[in-house]
């Protein structure tokens, strides 16, 4: 009864700050001292990208279990993989088409039983069978979100000529030193090689001496020219909004969020190409929670309601075809994200490198950053 009275008083705003602190302290101490016996089922643990830990994206799961799962936020798939390999017990991971193979090869991903996903039949058939969703004949990722990686710039702060013929070359141009921000990712080397004339199909699998040379030529330039190398999207969005930087490597959410704030921004289609990715949920075999909870979480991500939140909120596309029927048509048109198949025809779809190539990129990119003078 004491507890109920306290809550009542609290909701009426009659609890003093001191009483509140006392209660909070008592609770904090209590949870530390009490042994964890009542915890019958382990809570689901998800490795997620920053921003995707919002309940909008898995409301059905919250409705069923009454609480959010636990999240661990990563900045890139390689960080997440290293964390899992170091013994972090995650149940679900959010990789992308080009990175899911790393988890399969490392032996931490499980095959998905798509019959346990109620929304599976509404997923674009092209995505159901795409490489990355299927790896070595097994379905290892439930595709959920898709979108672009491209160059975003402030048209009001860039010369008009640039808007007519946008190019990735500004990230390697001393004239833009301190005015642009690349993503903290080996894409800086790959895109540099593409600026130098190499097609993506060769650049993404650079190895050995060729990789070292590309890193020395292009990676070092990108590190030097960039104001900072961004790791979380809010950091780069703030820098773009304030005018600290005038162009950056960006995903759709940056454009959607800045436009919502009234900041002019263009999501360019650079002449070297714009990229398309699709990401999804992978079941890991390292988790401790009930497998059904993991399937419920994945299924919630595939629901059309999640798709609507994703399309209208972040400007990303969604894998569920029905999501496009219930979303605001203006938001869809605004971002040009109606059909993943059309999108993939028109842009460069990220490809999966071999483990050796990926490890080479990891090392060379880290060294390139460290050697900045």
């Amino acid at each position: 009864m004491q507890r109920i009275k306290f809550i009542d008083r609290m909701s009426q705003g009659k609890v003093s700050r001191r009483e509140m602190m006392k209660a909070a302290t008592a609770f904090g101490v209590g949870t530390l001292v009490l042994p964890k016996v009542a915890n019958a089922a382990e809570v689901l643990t998800c490795l997620e990208w920053g921003g995707y830990d919002s309940a909008d994206y898995f409301q059905a799961y919250v409705d069923k279990y009454g609480a959010q799962p636990n999240f661990s936020i990563f900045a890139g798939e390689e960080d997440a993989l290293a964390k899992v390999l170091a013994g972090f017990a995650a149940d679900v991971m959010h990789p992308c088409n080009y990175s899911v193979a790393r988890f399969v090869n490392a032996g931490v991903a499980s095959e998905l039983d798509t019959s346990r996903l109620s929304h599976w039949n509404d997923v674009f058939p092209a995505l159901q069978s795409a490489e990355g969703v299927i790896w070595e004949g097994k379905t290892v990722m439930a595709p959920a979100d898709w979108g672009n990686s491209s160059l975003a710039f402030r048209p009001d702060l860039m010369p008009a000529e640039f808007a007519e013929d946008p190019t990735w070359a500004i990230f390697y141009d001393e004239a833009y030193k301190g005015k642009v921000a690349m993503n903290d990712n080996e894409m800086a080397i790959i895109i540099g090689a593409m600026v130098g004339g190499m097609p993506y199909d060769e650049a993404y699998k650079l190895e050995g001496a060729a990789l070292e040379a590309a890193a020395k030529e292009w990676g070092a330039k990108a590190v030097n020219v960039s104001r900072f190398l961004w790791n979380d999207s809010s950091e780069v969005q703030q820098a773009m909004a304030s005018g600290e930087i005038v162009a950056c490597y960006a995903w759709n959410d940056l454009v959607a969020n800045l436009r919502a704030e009234g900041v002019p921004v263009t999501f360019a289609k650079p002449k070297e190409g714009m990229f398309t990715w699709f990401c999804g949920l992978t079941l890991l075999n390292t988790g401790k929670a009930d497998e059904q909870a993991a399937y419920d979480f994945i299924d919630a991500w595939l629901s059309p309601e999640t798709g609507k939140a994703l399309i209208e909120g972040s400007g990303y596309g969604h894998a569920n075809m029905k999501a496009f029927e219930i979303s605001d048509p203006e938001a869809i048109a605004n971002m040009g994200i109606t059909d993943p198949v059309e999108m993939m025809k028109d842009t460069i779809v990220f490809k999966t490198p071999t483990d050796e190539v990926q490890e080479g990129f990891n090392k060379v990119w880290s060294d390139t950053k460290a050697l900045k003078g």
Partner: protein
């Protein structure tokens, strides 16, 4: 924190201790049961700390040493003992990498460069910390006469918030639209925001210096507080100017606290990781960032372990050299 005592309290404690000590010296034979019991009681008091140190410090270090002899290839961890990681750190190469005019003829120069860079950055931060905290401690020890406890509490105020928040505040202070830039702009001193404030080694040094000042003030303050005021008076009476008095009495007598403070700042800051990650940008990377990257991104924990061990050894050697160079042994001898 060192318990606060008035000047008289401390000096009298020191004098009584020095009077009592000779009486204790001629201790009974080692076999005396009373002495043994006393010694065991001492270990009993130490036990909780020892157990904790063993579990939280010694065991992980042993694990780290062991791991540094393993090797990683792809996803496979090879547990056979090998010196491969250490070889990688010193393997020579015909191609020399230049960094600020210093040649590194190594096949994998990154760890060596970052170690040197971290040591240099920490050294600058340490000097900055001592330069800021010594006058402050001096002020507290010699000028503040009332409410000393209040002053000490005021110094610890930055510790009331998390370190992460303090680093973020520096990001806001130094940022593009931050406090410094908006202030200068409002005063009309600059047109465009200054961009050299953030994302470089200087930002890291500023942040580190601010974060560690309180750690340095307290030991320096304690050693200044302990100085017998009669010595200062004697120096003045015998004709020393204030400056001369400071260099002949105050500075040498406060040296133990100052040395302790510099080590307290230098050692942890060399391996700092979160500060460069937040305010350093790629140019402000330190050795801790590389260790983190090797463990958490390159999935090469054994190499990361080897880098950490080498760094620990280098710091240990440097500290010993430093103590030897300033004649710490003599200082201690003089004190007792």
């Amino acid at each position: 924190m060192v318990g606060y005592q008035g000047a008289e309290g401390l000096t009298s404690a020191v004098t009584t201790a020095s009077i009592e000590r000779p009486a204790e010296r001629p201790a009974g034979p080692r076999s005396d049961p009373a002495v043994i019991r006393k010694r065991l009681a001492g270990f009993g008091l130490l036990a909780p700390a020892l157990v904790l140190m063993f579990m939280m410090l010694a065991l992980p270090v042993v694990a780290l040493v062991l791991m540094s002899f393993w090797t990683q290839s792809g996803f496979e961890l090879d547990r056979s003992i090998s010196l491969e990681n250490y070889r990688q750190l010193v393997a020579p190469s015909d191609e020399t990498t230049w960094w600020y005019g210093i040649p590194f003829p190594l096949a994998y120069p990154v760890p060596a460069i970052l170690m040197l860079k971290s040591l240099a950055m920490s050294l600058v931060a340490t000097i900055a910390v001592i330069a800021v905290s010594y006058p402050m401690a001096y002020f507290m020890a010699f000028r503040v006469t009332r409410h000393k406890a209040l002053w000490i509490i005021l110094i610890t105020i930055p510790f009331w918030t998390s370190y992460l928040l303090r680093v973020f505040s520096w990001k806001i202070v130094l940022g593009f639209n931050g406090a410094i830039n908006s202030g200068l702009k409002a005063m009309g001193l600059i047109e465009e925001p200054l961009e050299f404030l953030l994302y470089n080694p200087t930002a890291v040094v500023i942040t580190l210096a601010h974060a560690w000042v309180a750690f340095a003030i307290l030991p320096i303050y304690v050693s200044l507080e302990k100085i017998d005021r009669n010595l200062l008076e004697a120096a003045s009476d015998l004709g020393d100017s204030r400056l001369k008095r400071f260099f002949r009495i105050t500075l040498p007598l406060s040296a133990p606290g100052t040395i302790a403070a510099s080590l307290l700042v230098f050692i942890p800051t060399v391996g700092d990781y979160v500060t460069p990650a937040l305010v350093g940008g790629p140019g402000g990377t330190m050795i801790g960032s590389l260790v983190q990257d090797l463990f958490l991104k390159q999935n090469n924990a054994p190499l990361g372990a080897a880098v950490s061990i080498v760094m620990m050894l280098i710091i240990a050697v440097l500290v010993l050299l430093f103590l030897w160079a300033i004649g710490y042994g003599k200082l201690r001898a003089r004190r007792s």
